[in-house]
């Protein structure tokens, strides 16, 4: 493997990891965008989606329908969470809502442990997805990477269309800015929030399945790491902006891979510390996130 092949392979690795982060971050951003809520339970919706798929596979459902079931289960769960836990406190202070989402996390994880125990279980992947391509120069490209990249690229197009071209999408952005005013123009904010949760949770389900497919296993506590990464990615991009979440996801993935790839192995254990130090520095210079220009406050 020569130097340029090495660089190319690492970049490919970065894109692959970034796509996964981006996909999780998009869902988080949708909900933040409309409700100003940092939904910690997003990771657990992922987990439930992945479990839905795994259990379906174990029951003999083929892979693709199993994914659909996983996504459906996640969507239903998302809507239930909104209905039961978030709707009653929609007007409460941000922190109260944030902490409520943490409580939901806590509940879902432990229900998961009670039902499934906390030992990870295998996530079986069909062979067509498990394969990989050997390119020239020793470069490897796995099918699952290709799928992840395709899904997150597709989501950008889809969501871009949805939020700028459809009334529901526009309405979601409007409701995010001013829920009262949105009602005054005749938008059903409850319905929009449900749509947002449906969309975000479906994404969470999809991301959960892809994450589990890449990680090879599911367990009740699997949602935490992706949530953390997505949180960071969403902030880098500018919280609430969907394009921002994608960009943030790719940046985070690239940082993580490149630090391990190009820094000496005495430094690479400090990877997470470096990532966060850079993140903090970044926030200081662009407090609104990557895609948000430094807008001065209008008094």
């Amino acid at each position: 493997m020569n130097f340029w092949d090495y660089v190319l392979q690492q970049l490919l690795n970065a894109v692959s990891l970034g796509s996964l982060y981006a996909l999780v971050a998009v869902g988080l951003s949708i909900i933040f965008g409309i409700m100003r809520l940092t939904n910690f339970a997003h990771g657990d919706v992922m987990m439930v989606g992945a479990f839905g798929a795994v259990l379906s596979i174990a029951a003999g459902v083929p892979f693709i329908p199993a994914i659909v079931i996983g996504v459906a289960v996640a969507s239903v769960l998302g809507i239930l969470i909104e209905r039961i836990a978030y709707r009653p406190i929609r007007k409460a202070p941000d922190v109260a809502r944030l902490l409520t989402s943490l409580a939901v996390t806590y509940i879902l994880e432990n229900v998961g442990i009670v039902i499934f125990s906390s030992s990870p279980r295998n996530f079986p992947i069909p062979t067509w997805l498990d394969g990989s391509w050997q390119l020239t120069g020793g470069i490897t490209l796995t099918n699952i990477t290709l799928l992840t990249i395709a899904v997150s690229a597709g989501s950008l197009v889809l969501l871009g269309w949805f939020t700028t071209r459809t009334t529901a999408g526009l309405g979601m952005r409007a409701a995010a800015e001013d829920a009262d005013a949105a009602q005054l123009v005749g938008l059903n904010v409850n319905k929009l929030i449900v749509i947002a949760f449906l969309l975000a949770s479906a994404y969470a389900g999809l991301a959960g399945v892809l994450w589990a497919a890449q990680a090879g296993a599911v367990d009740p506590q699997m949602g935490f790491t992706p949530l953390l990464k997505a949180f960071v990615a969403a902030i880098i991009g500018g919280f609430g902006s969907i394009a921002g979440a994608l960009v943030g996801g790719y940046m985070l993935g690239a940082l993580e891979i490149l630090i391990v790839a190009f820094l000496p192995s005495s430094v690479s254990p400090y990877r997470d510390a470096i990532v966060f130090a850079l993140l903090i520095a970044f926030l200081l210079f662009r407090p609104g996130g990557l895609l948000q220009p430094n807008r001065e406050i209008k008094l």
Binding site: A103, Y106, I107, N110, F224, P269, A273, L279, L283, L284
Partner: protein, 335 residues
């Protein structure tokens, strides 16, 4: 003028003597629970200053607790223990040996000094950003603890810290923390913090420096977090980086929010509620027999129930049990 002082001193003395008496009449188990409540009280109170009063929602507080615990741990190992457990310590530190009290003070000061350094950039941020950035600080602390094995033994357990902390120490420090924070909150500084929380721009328009106010709160909070960390280290005698991570963060934050963020007495009420509920649920979830019924063990049920209780409280009291108000006997709630 001296009345406030006298009340403060009396309060501290009363708390300490109660803590001194308790182990004589209660079991080790009960006094341990009390000690942990006092310790959590210190953690939550010190977090209340930033999260409750200045409106900077920090998720990195546990980082300071960790720094306090490790600093105090390293300082209070004997010279021989250090050469066995931490052979690569720099000479100066290797030769240093402090008792519990001085080590606790130094631990607090180190945490505070660190807060000055990290707070300087962090306290400029607001909203979600400051939460993420402080969480980043926690992650950085964790990574450094895991990798700076010459000082911390890395991911391995740090042991050998003399088990000096008893209920008296914990309650004594809690009383001191409460008294000092109470004074601060009811001083011009307290008003400045609330002004910054309510409206940063208006605060700066009347000459209150947002950065300085937040930084002061952050540093004072970090000092007591460091103190609490030291007591924790001297209570357990052993700990590792994973002790001071998200689980602890969530626990402390939940206590604070449940009790009421803008209230010191609320913070303590949150601690007592969650501690007692957890303790009771922990014994219930292992199953029990009720007459002819046998309730099987459902481990994890305590977390589920606690989560539900939390949601219910948030629905009915979104600002926590006490909200912004202080618990005072009879007299008017607001100063």
């Amino acid at each position: 003028m001296l009345k406030s002082h006298a009340i403060g001193v009396a309060l501290i003395a009363l708390a300490i003597s109660a803590a001194w008496l308790l182990p004589a009449i209660a079991s080790d188990y009960v006094s341990r629970i009390c000690l942990l409540m006092a310790l959590n009280g210190i953690f939550v109170l010190s977090l209340a200053l930033t999260n409750g009063f200045t409106g900077v929602f920090s998720l990195g507080h546990v980082g300071f607790i960790a720094v306090g615990a490790y600093a105090s741990g390293i300082l209070s190992l004997s010279v021989q223990q250090k050469s066995a457990l931490l052979p690569n310590l720099p000479f100066l530190i290797a030769q240093m040996h402090l008792g519990f009290f001085p080590a606790t003070i130094v631990a607090g000061l180190i945490a505070a000094a660190l807060a000055v350094i990290v707070g300087f950039p962090l306290m400029r941020l607001s909203g979600n950003f400051v939460s993420v950035a402080t969480m980043g600080f926690l992650i950085i602390v964790n990574v450094v603890l895991i990798n700076a094995s010459d000082f911390t033994r890395g991911a391995r357990t740090f042991t050998g810290v003399p088990v000096d902390a008893n209920l008296m120490w914990a309650v004594g420090w809690l009383a001191i923390t409460f008294y000092i924070l109470w004074r601060l909150v009811h001083s011009p500084f307290g008003r400045a913090m609330k002004s910054v929380r309510d409206d940063q721009l208006a605060a700066s328009a009347v000459g209150i420096s947002v950065l300085r106010t937040r930084l002061t709160a952050f540093v004072v909070g970090a000092f007591f977090a460091g103190v609490g960390g030291s007591i924790f280290a001297h209570y357990l005698g052993s700990f590792s980086p994973k002790t001071f991570y998200f689980a602890m963060t969530m626990n402390i934050v939940a206590m604070l929010v449940l009790g009421g963020m803008g209230s010191l007495s609320g913070a303590l009420i949150g601690v007592v509620c969650i501690s007692l509920i957890t303790e009771v649920l922990r014994s219930v979830e292992r199953g029990f027999t009720l007459g002819a019924f046998e309730v099987p063990a459902v481990f994890g049920a305590s977390q589920i129930i606690l989560g539900l209780i939390f949601i219910v409280v948030m629905i009915f009291r979104p600002k926590g049990i006490m909200g912004d108000r202080e618990f005072t006997l009879g007299s008017k709630a607001r100063q």
